[in-house]
């Protein structure tokens, strides 16, 4: 039978009740914890008051009962499906004065049309009248009454223990309540009864929550950044400092980790928009995901690699010889953002030059196929994130010259002999990378949203007016320097 025809109604909740009975011994100690389990406590309290304590540390006690009302003070169960047996509980009075005191037990059927509470009309199941006199009565009574056969029908019910009385101030205590049956409430759905949910692809994620409802191997999208794109900006003269316009290579990116019902990554969809090349060098771009073994990747598609590339690649599409997952989106930025001509050297950095259209490059890194990961194991969603995202510029077709974000380590293919030379103050042994001597300035920036880049040869601080004070205050001031707020930018310097 075709999947499109077969709509399997699968229970998306693991309906393993941990017992065939519902119990309340008050030992959670707080009303709120029982309410979270879908018990309803109206003018009753879980506490350790000595006068109404029946067993162990806590019992449940009513308010001071002063009128014969079934709605003033009660304890109501979650929805349950009855099983055979009896409802049992212990009860006592607190010894205070009172006219009469009773517990009236009702069952309440589920009514589909009542979208507010789901409760139908209550019916009295059992009544217990405390013997007279109520005054000074502190005896513990064991109550037991059978579940009527007509209620053992697979339908959900609530049971309400209503505390009533007139005269005096005597309270009723109850404890060790046991009902035969299975728990049927859903605390994640306003405590309505658990019900079968549509799950067309059978991955145990209900269709209404499944972002791929007809794909058993995919369930959710997980983007970083969470919305829009982030921007990477590079200077390419490392280890020398350049003009600090941070537009030698400007790339917007976002990454979608598509996960399955186990929260394992099926594929990472990397979208890149190479927006500007303020350089004459034929720079490439690399992305390492640190601490993810290359063998966990099944395939890579969507990269732009020249015919005679300086890079070598493994069978799965990753760069060969690297310690961690390393992909090369392109080995020459001009291949993805061609020069439009017109007499200027860079692309999209000179306001008098021709604009070049920016395209979206989509790279797919596959970790699972048909529900199966590589023999090296799956990658969990939290193993691939911004913390181990390590992008780098490869300078002018020199594979060993990598330019990373400040503090990010080079790949094992980088030439470490360059560290500490000219303006660079990297210290491999101290795990300090890509910051300048004396001033500690970086050669790359990573901004959490898409940021317009600088015009050619315009110093970054002349366009982003809060950037400098953010830096020299060590981040305590203007930490939102990248936002487009009044007096935050000089647009005459920005492309």
């Amino acid at each position: 039978m075709k999947k499109s025809v077969l709509m399997s109604l699968v229970l998306c909740y693991s309906m393993i009740s941990f017992a065939q009975r519902i119990e309340n011994d008050a030992e959670l100690g707080r009303n709120k914890l029982f309410e979270a389990q879908c018990w309803e406590l109206m003018e009753v309290e879980v506490n350790n008051h000595a006068a109404t304590l029946i067993s162990e540390k806590f019992s449940i006690r009513s308010m001071e009962l002063q009128k014969a009302s079934l709605s003033d003070s009660y304890l109501k169960t979650p929805w349950i499906k009855f099983g055979e047996g009896s409802i049992t509980l212990k009860t006592k009075l607190d010894g205070s004065a009172g006219g009469n005191r009773s517990i009236v037990v009702q069952y309440i059927p589920f009514e589909e049309g009542n979208t507010d509470t789901g409760e139908g009309k209550p019916t009295v199941l059992y009544t217990f009248d405390f013997p007279h006199p109520v005054n000074k009565n502190t005896k513990v009574y064991d109550l037991s009454f059978p579940v009527p056969t007509k209620l053992i029908n697979g339908k959900p019910y609530k049971v309400s223990f209503n505390f009533t009385g007139t005269g005096g101030s005597a309270r009723i205590g109850v404890d060790d309540i046991v009902l035969p049956g299975t728990y049927q409430s859903d605390p994640s759905n306003q405590c309505f009864p658990i019900k079968p949910i549509k799950d067309a692809d059978g991955d145990l994620v209900m269709d209404s929550e499944d972002e791929f409802p007809n794909d058993q191997y995919r369930a959710f999208n997980n983007y970083f950044p969470a919305q829009g794109y982030s921007t990477l900006m590079f200077e390419d003269l490392w280890p020398s400092i350049g003009d600090y316009d941070f537009n030698d290579l400007v790339v917007d990116y976002r990454i979608n980790r598509i996960t399955d019902a186990k929260n394992e990554i099926v594929e990472a969809i990397i979208e890149l928009k190479t927006r500007a090349i303020g350089a004459g060098f034929k720079n490439g771009l690399g992305i390492e995901f640190t601490n993810i073994a290359p063998g966990k990747v099944l395939s890579v598609t969507g990269t732009h690699i020249s015919t005679a590339s300086i890079h070598s690649f493994s069978e799965n599409g990753l760069e060969a010889g690297t310690q961690w997952v390393t992909l090369i989106p392109y080995d020459n930025a001009f291949n993805v953002l061609p020069h439009p001509g017109g007499g200027v050297t860079g692309v999209n950095t000179d306001p008098f030059g021709r604009d070049q259209e920016v395209i979206v490059q989509t790279i797919v890194v596959t970790f699972k196929k048909g529900g199966k990961a590589s023999s090296n194991g799956p990658v969990h969603q939290d193993e691939l994130n911004i913390k181990n995202f390590n992008p780098f510029l490869i300078r002018n077709q020199e594979r060993q010259v990598e330019i990373h974000l400040p503090g990010k380590p080079p790949t094992n293919l980088a030439d470490r002999q360059l560290f500490g030379t000219i303006d660079d103050d990297s210290d491999v042994s101290g795990e300090r990378y890509y910051q300048s001597k004396g001033t500690n300035l970086p050669w790359a920036l990573h901004v959490n949203q898409s940021l317009p880049h600088m015009q050619e040869k315009n110093n970054f601080t002349t366009g982003y007016l809060k950037f400098k004070e953010w830096v020299i205050s060590n981040g305590s001031v203007s930490e939102d320097w990248y936002l487009d707020l009044p007096q935050y930018r000089d647009r005459t310097k920005i492309y």
Binding site: Y13, S14, S17, I22, L28, N31, K32, L33, E35, A36, Q37, M42, E43, V44, E45, M63, Y183, P187, S188, N189, Q190, L204, E209, F220, N221, N222, P225, A226, Q227, L237, S240, I241, G242, D243, Y244, D248, T259, K262, G280, K282, T345, G346, D382, I386, K387, N396, I422, S436, G438, T439, N440, L441, L445, H446, N459, T461, K468, V471, I472, D480
Partner: protein, 134 residues
């Protein structure tokens, strides 16, 4: 003839200059060194690490649903299946300007402000006036 020589020379100069790749700038073009100095430990990051905890709920059944975490800008940064009776711990980098996080689990929705880069949630119902005992 003379013009041809001039054109040939010009052509040679153009060819020679385009044969050797060079960047559009030169080392030291920036005067930034004189203007700005960062602390050696400055992170340069426009995000910071936030830890999110959700305390699991003791339940007589096992319920697994989609958990969604988002910022005050409605930007969803986490989606995954979560068992309601298990604790959830997650470290994430959020933009510096973000001040609160929301969680959604079925019909349970809560929002908390960040306190020292940490947020704790639970599945307990919000405080209500009814139920307190007179």
């Amino acid at each position: 003839m003379y013009n041809k020589k001039i054109w040939a020379s010009l052509l040679m100069v153009i060819c020679l200059s385009s044969c050797s790749p060079k960047d559009m700038e030169n080392p030291g073009d920036s005067n930034l060194n004189n203007e700005m100095q960062a602390d050696p430990n400055f992170s340069w990051s426009t995000t910071r690490q936030v830890t999110i905890e959700i305390k699991g709920l003791q339940l007589p059944v096992s319920i697994s649903r989609k958990l969604i975490l988002s910022t005050e800008e409605d930007a969803v940064f986490y989606t995954g299946t979560q068992l309601m009776n298990e604790d959830f711990n997650y470290a994430v980098e959020l933009p510096n300007h973000i001040r609160s996080v929301s969680m959604q689990f079925g019909t349970i929705e809560k929002t908390q402000d960040l306190t020292e880069n940490k947020i704790s949630f639970d599945y307990l119902p919000a405080d209500q006036d009814i139920g307190s005992v007179k």
